[in-house]
Protein backbone atom coordinates (compact mmCIF):
# COMPACT_ATOMS: atom_id res chain seq x y z
CA UNK A 1 0.00 0.00 0.00
CA UNK A 2 1.17 3.51 -0.75
CA UNK A 3 2.27 5.15 2.55
CA UNK A 4 0.92 8.49 1.30
CA UNK A 5 -2.53 7.45 2.53
CA UNK A 6 -1.23 7.76 6.09
CA UNK A 7 -0.26 11.35 5.33
CA UNK A 8 -3.85 12.11 4.32
CA UNK A 9 -5.12 10.68 7.62
CA UNK A 10 -2.50 12.71 9.45
CA UNK A 11 -3.57 15.92 7.70
CA UNK A 12 -7.25 15.23 8.49
CA UNK A 13 -6.57 14.51 12.17
CA UNK A 14 -4.43 17.63 12.47
CA UNK A 15 -7.18 19.77 10.93
CA UNK A 16 -9.83 18.28 13.22
CA UNK A 17 -7.59 18.95 16.21
CA UNK A 18 -7.12 22.55 15.11
CA UNK A 19 -10.88 23.08 14.81
CA UNK A 20 -11.29 21.63 18.29
CA UNK A 21 -8.71 23.98 19.79
CA UNK A 22 -10.52 26.99 18.36
CA UNK A 23 -14.12 25.93 18.97
CA UNK A 24 -14.31 24.03 22.26
CA UNK A 25 -14.55 26.01 25.49
CA UNK A 26 -13.58 23.44 28.10
CA UNK A 27 -9.85 23.81 28.76
CA UNK A 28 -9.37 20.06 29.15
CA UNK A 29 -11.02 19.31 25.81
CA UNK A 30 -8.89 22.02 24.18
CA UNK A 31 -5.89 20.27 25.64
CA UNK A 32 -7.00 16.91 24.28
CA UNK A 33 -7.33 18.47 20.83
CA UNK A 34 -3.73 19.69 21.11
CA UNK A 35 -2.74 16.11 21.91
CA UNK A 36 -4.61 15.00 18.79
CA UNK A 37 -2.61 17.48 16.69
CA UNK A 38 0.67 16.24 18.19
CA UNK A 39 -0.33 12.65 17.44
CA UNK A 40 -1.20 13.54 13.85
CA UNK A 41 2.24 15.10 13.44
CA UNK A 42 3.79 11.94 14.88
CA UNK A 43 1.99 9.83 12.30
CA UNK A 44 3.54 12.01 9.59
CA UNK A 45 7.00 11.53 11.09
CA UNK A 46 6.63 7.75 11.17
CA UNK A 47 5.28 7.68 7.62
CA UNK A 48 8.12 9.80 6.29
CA UNK A 49 10.60 7.59 8.11
CA UNK A 50 9.17 4.69 6.12
CA UNK A 51 9.15 6.62 2.83
CA UNK A 52 12.77 7.68 3.27
CA UNK A 53 13.93 4.32 4.57
CA UNK A 54 15.70 5.52 7.74
CA UNK A 55 14.78 5.66 11.40
CA UNK A 56 15.41 9.37 12.05
CA UNK A 57 11.71 10.18 11.73
CA UNK A 58 10.89 7.61 14.37
CA UNK A 59 13.46 9.11 16.75
CA UNK A 60 11.90 12.55 16.24
CA UNK A 61 8.43 11.08 16.88
CA UNK A 62 9.82 9.59 20.08
CA UNK A 63 11.08 13.00 21.19
CA UNK A 64 7.71 14.51 20.33
CA UNK A 65 6.05 11.99 22.62
CA UNK A 66 8.34 12.93 25.52
CA UNK A 67 7.76 16.65 25.00
CA UNK A 68 3.99 16.02 24.75
CA UNK A 69 4.08 14.15 28.05
CA UNK A 70 5.86 17.11 29.72
CA UNK A 71 3.36 19.50 28.18
CA UNK A 72 0.42 17.48 29.49
CA UNK A 73 1.83 17.38 33.01
CA UNK A 74 2.44 21.12 33.23
CA UNK A 75 -0.73 22.06 31.34
CA UNK A 76 -2.98 19.96 33.52
CA UNK A 77 -1.31 21.39 36.63
CA UNK A 78 -2.13 24.89 35.32
CA UNK A 79 -5.74 23.86 34.64
CA UNK A 80 -6.07 22.49 38.17
CA UNK A 81 -4.62 25.71 39.60
CA UNK A 82 -7.04 27.85 37.58
CA UNK A 83 -9.92 25.59 38.56
CA UNK A 84 -8.97 25.90 42.20
CA UNK A 85 -9.17 29.69 42.17
CA UNK A 86 -12.10 30.13 39.75
CA UNK A 87 -14.14 26.92 40.11
CA UNK A 88 -14.35 26.69 36.34
CA UNK A 89 -12.39 24.92 33.61
CA UNK A 90 -13.77 27.05 30.80
CA UNK A 91 -11.29 29.04 28.77
CA UNK A 92 -13.78 31.90 28.53
CA UNK A 93 -13.76 32.49 32.27
CA UNK A 94 -10.01 32.98 32.51
CA UNK A 95 -10.04 36.43 30.93
CA UNK A 96 -8.86 38.59 33.80
CA UNK A 97 -6.31 40.45 31.68
CA UNK A 98 -9.08 41.66 29.38
CA UNK A 99 -11.11 43.41 32.05
Amino acid sequence: MNPTNYLYVSALLFTIGAIGVVMRRNAIVVFMCIELMLNAANLSFVTFARINGNLDGQVVAFFTMVVAACEVVVGLAIIVTIYRSRRSASVDDASLLKR
Partner: protein, 251 residues
Protein backbone atom coordinates in the same frame (compact mmCIF):
# COMPACT_ATOMS: atom_id res chain seq x y z
CA UNK B 1 -2.49 -6.43 1.21
CA UNK B 2 -3.26 -7.02 4.91
CA UNK B 3 -1.93 -3.54 5.61
CA UNK B 4 -4.38 -1.87 3.24
CA UNK B 5 -7.29 -3.83 4.79
CA UNK B 6 -6.15 -2.65 8.24
CA UNK B 7 -5.78 0.89 6.95
CA UNK B 8 -9.17 1.12 5.27
CA UNK B 9 -10.91 -0.21 8.36
CA UNK B 10 -8.99 1.74 10.99
CA UNK B 11 -8.47 5.09 9.23
CA UNK B 12 -12.19 5.94 8.81
CA UNK B 13 -12.78 4.85 12.40
CA UNK B 14 -9.97 7.13 13.59
CA UNK B 15 -11.28 10.12 11.65
CA UNK B 16 -14.84 9.44 12.84
CA UNK B 17 -13.69 9.22 16.46
CA UNK B 18 -11.75 12.47 16.05
CA UNK B 19 -14.84 14.18 14.62
CA UNK B 20 -16.90 12.76 17.48
CA UNK B 21 -14.41 14.30 19.88
CA UNK B 22 -15.38 17.69 18.53
CA UNK B 23 -19.11 17.07 18.67
CA UNK B 24 -19.79 15.25 21.96
CA UNK B 25 -20.79 17.37 24.89
CA UNK B 26 -19.13 15.62 27.81
CA UNK B 27 -15.40 15.86 28.29
CA UNK B 28 -15.22 12.22 29.43
CA UNK B 29 -16.63 11.01 26.12
CA UNK B 30 -14.08 13.18 24.30
CA UNK B 31 -11.33 11.55 26.35
CA UNK B 32 -12.52 8.04 25.49
CA UNK B 33 -12.76 8.88 21.78
CA UNK B 34 -9.26 10.36 21.90
CA UNK B 35 -8.00 7.16 23.55
CA UNK B 36 -9.48 5.23 20.63
CA UNK B 37 -7.76 7.52 18.09
CA UNK B 38 -4.45 6.94 19.89
CA UNK B 39 -4.90 3.16 19.84
CA UNK B 40 -5.60 3.36 16.09
CA UNK B 41 -2.42 5.35 15.63
CA UNK B 42 -0.53 2.63 17.54
CA UNK B 43 -1.84 0.11 15.00
CA UNK B 44 -0.66 2.36 12.17
CA UNK B 45 2.81 2.69 13.73
CA UNK B 46 3.20 -1.05 14.07
CA UNK B 47 1.92 -1.58 10.53
CA UNK B 48 4.58 0.84 9.30
CA UNK B 49 7.48 -0.94 10.94
CA UNK B 50 7.67 1.31 14.01
CA UNK B 51 7.21 -1.49 16.52
CA UNK B 52 8.80 0.36 19.43
CA UNK B 53 6.80 3.53 18.85
CA UNK B 54 3.58 1.53 18.60
CA UNK B 55 4.15 -0.02 22.00
CA UNK B 56 5.25 3.33 23.47
CA UNK B 57 2.13 4.93 22.03
CA UNK B 58 -0.08 2.48 23.90
CA UNK B 59 1.91 2.67 27.13
CA UNK B 60 2.58 6.41 27.24
CA UNK B 61 -0.45 7.90 25.48
CA UNK B 62 -3.39 5.61 26.12
CA UNK B 63 -1.87 4.47 29.39
CA UNK B 64 -0.30 7.42 31.13
CA UNK B 65 -1.49 10.57 29.36
CA UNK B 66 -5.14 9.59 28.99
CA UNK B 67 -5.17 8.31 32.56
CA UNK B 68 -3.89 11.72 33.66
CA UNK B 69 -6.61 13.42 31.63
CA UNK B 70 -9.34 11.25 33.16
CA UNK B 71 -7.86 11.83 36.61
CA UNK B 72 -8.02 15.62 36.16
CA UNK B 73 -11.55 15.30 34.75
CA UNK B 74 -12.59 13.50 37.92
CA UNK B 75 -10.96 16.26 40.00
CA UNK B 76 -12.52 19.11 38.06
CA UNK B 77 -15.92 17.42 37.89
CA UNK B 78 -17.15 14.87 35.38
CA UNK B 79 -20.47 16.62 35.00
CA UNK B 80 -18.84 19.85 33.85
CA UNK B 81 -20.18 19.43 30.35
CA UNK B 82 -19.14 21.93 27.75
CA UNK B 83 -21.69 24.23 26.24
CA UNK B 84 -21.41 24.01 22.47
CA UNK B 85 -22.93 27.45 21.89
CA UNK B 86 -20.49 29.91 20.44
CA UNK B 87 -19.48 32.71 22.79
CA UNK B 88 -17.57 34.81 20.27
CA UNK B 89 -19.89 35.81 17.47
CA UNK B 90 -18.96 34.50 14.04
CA UNK B 91 -16.21 32.25 15.44
CA UNK B 92 -17.67 28.99 14.21
CA UNK B 93 -18.01 29.85 10.49
CA UNK B 94 -14.58 31.47 10.47
CA UNK B 95 -12.99 28.50 12.23
CA UNK B 96 -14.62 25.96 9.92
CA UNK B 97 -13.70 27.96 6.81
CA UNK B 98 -10.10 28.32 7.96
CA UNK B 99 -9.91 24.63 8.83
CA UNK B 100 -11.39 23.58 5.50
CA UNK B 101 -8.90 25.83 3.76
CA UNK B 102 -6.00 24.43 5.74
CA UNK B 103 -7.12 20.82 5.32
CA UNK B 104 -7.74 21.29 1.61
CA UNK B 105 -4.31 22.87 1.22
CA UNK B 106 -2.62 19.98 3.04
CA UNK B 107 -4.50 17.30 1.14
CA UNK B 108 -3.92 18.87 -2.27
CA UNK B 109 -0.27 19.42 -1.35
CA UNK B 110 0.19 15.76 -0.43
CA UNK B 111 -1.70 14.75 -3.56
CA UNK B 112 0.51 16.81 -5.85
CA UNK B 113 3.89 16.45 -4.16
CA UNK B 114 6.12 13.66 -5.37
CA UNK B 115 9.54 12.42 -4.38
CA UNK B 116 10.17 11.19 -7.87
CA UNK B 117 10.87 7.69 -6.57
CA UNK B 118 9.11 4.83 -4.88
CA UNK B 119 8.95 4.82 -1.06
CA UNK B 120 11.95 2.88 0.25
CA UNK B 121 10.44 1.05 3.21
CA UNK B 122 12.18 0.15 6.44
CA UNK B 123 13.40 -3.35 5.57
CA UNK B 124 17.09 -2.39 5.52
CA UNK B 125 16.84 0.09 8.39
CA UNK B 126 15.03 -2.46 10.56
CA UNK B 127 17.34 -5.31 9.54
CA UNK B 128 18.90 -5.59 13.01
CA UNK B 129 15.54 -5.00 14.72
CA UNK B 130 13.56 -1.81 15.18
CA UNK B 131 14.52 -1.28 18.82
CA UNK B 132 18.21 -1.89 18.08
CA UNK B 133 18.11 0.55 15.17
CA UNK B 134 16.42 3.23 17.26
CA UNK B 135 18.86 2.71 20.14
CA UNK B 136 21.78 3.02 17.74
CA UNK B 137 20.52 6.42 16.56
CA UNK B 138 19.36 7.62 19.96
CA UNK B 139 22.72 7.03 21.65
CA UNK B 140 24.91 8.27 18.82
CA UNK B 141 23.46 11.01 16.60
CA UNK B 142 20.71 12.10 18.95
CA UNK B 143 22.45 11.70 22.30
CA UNK B 144 22.49 15.45 23.00
CA UNK B 145 18.74 15.99 22.31
CA UNK B 146 18.13 12.88 24.41
CA UNK B 147 19.91 14.45 27.40
CA UNK B 148 18.11 17.77 26.90
CA UNK B 149 14.75 16.00 26.79
CA UNK B 150 15.54 14.20 30.03
CA UNK B 151 16.28 17.57 31.65
CA UNK B 152 12.96 18.81 30.26
CA UNK B 153 11.13 15.87 31.85
CA UNK B 154 12.62 16.59 35.26
CA UNK B 155 11.79 20.29 34.92
CA UNK B 156 8.20 19.45 33.96
CA UNK B 157 7.79 17.16 36.97
CA UNK B 158 9.15 19.89 39.27
CA UNK B 159 6.97 22.52 37.61
CA UNK B 160 3.85 20.42 38.06
CA UNK B 161 4.68 19.96 41.74
CA UNK B 162 5.22 23.69 42.23
CA UNK B 163 1.98 24.55 40.40
CA UNK B 164 -0.16 21.98 42.17
CA UNK B 165 1.27 22.72 45.61
CA UNK B 166 -1.31 24.34 47.81
CA UNK B 167 -0.34 26.38 50.84
CA UNK B 168 -2.87 26.95 53.62
CA UNK B 169 -3.55 30.63 54.17
CA UNK B 170 -4.89 30.10 57.71
CA UNK B 171 -3.69 27.50 60.17
CA UNK B 172 -5.80 24.40 60.53
CA UNK B 173 -8.13 24.84 63.57
CA UNK B 174 -7.13 22.67 66.49
CA UNK B 175 -9.50 20.27 68.21
CA UNK B 176 -9.77 22.66 71.16
CA UNK B 177 -10.75 25.58 68.92
CA UNK B 178 -13.34 23.47 67.14
CA UNK B 179 -14.83 22.40 70.44
CA UNK B 180 -15.01 25.97 71.77
CA UNK B 181 -16.59 27.14 68.54
CA UNK B 182 -19.23 24.42 68.82
CA UNK B 183 -20.25 25.43 72.36
CA UNK B 184 -20.16 29.20 71.80
CA UNK B 185 -22.03 29.28 68.48
CA UNK B 186 -25.38 30.12 70.06
CA UNK B 187 -27.32 26.91 69.76
CA UNK B 188 -26.35 23.88 71.78
CA UNK B 189 -28.36 21.54 69.53
CA UNK B 190 -25.29 20.07 67.87
CA UNK B 191 -22.85 20.56 70.73
CA UNK B 192 -22.62 16.82 71.30
CA UNK B 193 -22.04 16.15 67.61
CA UNK B 194 -24.42 15.30 64.82
CA UNK B 195 -26.37 12.04 64.95
CA UNK B 196 -24.94 9.13 63.05
CA UNK B 197 -26.82 7.57 60.16
CA UNK B 198 -29.32 4.84 60.86
CA UNK B 199 -29.76 5.49 64.58
CA UNK B 200 -33.07 4.08 65.81
CA UNK B 201 -33.76 2.63 62.40
CA UNK B 202 -33.44 -1.01 61.50
CA UNK B 203 -30.80 -0.18 58.95
CA UNK B 204 -27.46 1.52 59.61
CA UNK B 205 -26.08 2.05 56.09
CA UNK B 206 -24.53 5.50 55.55
CA UNK B 207 -27.31 6.57 53.20
CA UNK B 208 -30.20 5.86 55.59
CA UNK B 209 -30.99 8.87 57.80
CA UNK B 210 -31.40 8.40 61.54
CA UNK B 211 -34.90 8.61 63.02
CA UNK B 212 -35.84 11.34 65.45
CA UNK B 213 -37.89 10.37 68.53
CA UNK B 214 -41.11 11.32 66.70
CA UNK B 215 -40.24 8.96 63.85
CA UNK B 216 -39.29 11.60 61.26
CA UNK B 217 -35.94 11.22 59.48
CA UNK B 218 -33.02 13.45 60.51
CA UNK B 219 -31.27 14.73 57.35
CA UNK B 220 -28.36 16.08 59.42
CA UNK B 221 -27.26 12.50 60.07
CA UNK B 222 -26.32 12.02 56.40
CA UNK B 223 -23.07 13.24 54.90
CA UNK B 224 -23.41 16.55 53.04
CA UNK B 225 -22.11 14.96 49.83
CA UNK B 226 -24.74 12.23 49.80
CA UNK B 227 -27.44 14.78 50.56
CA UNK B 228 -26.56 17.09 47.66
CA UNK B 229 -26.20 14.13 45.35
CA UNK B 230 -29.71 13.01 46.35
CA UNK B 231 -28.49 9.59 47.44
CA UNK B 232 -30.56 9.59 50.64
CA UNK B 233 -32.76 6.54 51.12
CA UNK B 234 -36.23 6.97 52.63
CA UNK B 235 -35.88 5.57 56.12
CA UNK B 236 -39.60 5.10 56.76
CA UNK B 237 -39.41 1.59 55.36
CA UNK B 238 -36.98 0.66 58.13
CA UNK B 239 -39.05 2.00 61.02
CA UNK B 240 -39.46 -0.13 64.09
CA UNK B 241 -43.27 -0.38 63.84
CA UNK B 242 -42.84 -2.18 60.53
CA UNK B 243 -41.24 -5.10 62.32
CA UNK B 244 -43.34 -8.06 63.11
CA UNK B 245 -43.02 -8.10 66.90
CA UNK B 246 -45.28 -11.10 67.43
CA UNK B 247 -43.53 -13.64 69.59
CA UNK B 248 -43.88 -17.15 68.38
CA UNK B 249 -43.49 -19.66 71.14
CA UNK B 250 -41.30 -22.53 70.20
CA UNK B 251 -42.61 -25.84 71.18
Amino acid sequence: MPESILFWIMAPLAVLAALGMLLVKKAVHSALLLAWVMITLAFFYIAQGALFLGIVQVVVYTGAVMMLFLFILMLVGVDASDSLTETIRGLRPIAITAALGFGGLMVSLIGRASLGREPIGLETANAAGNVQGLAQLLFSTYVWPFEVVSALLITAALGAMVLAHHQREVARPTQRELSEQRFRSGSLATAAGLPGPGVFARHNAVDVPALLPDGSPAPASISETLRTRGDMIDSSQFQLDQINTEVVEEK
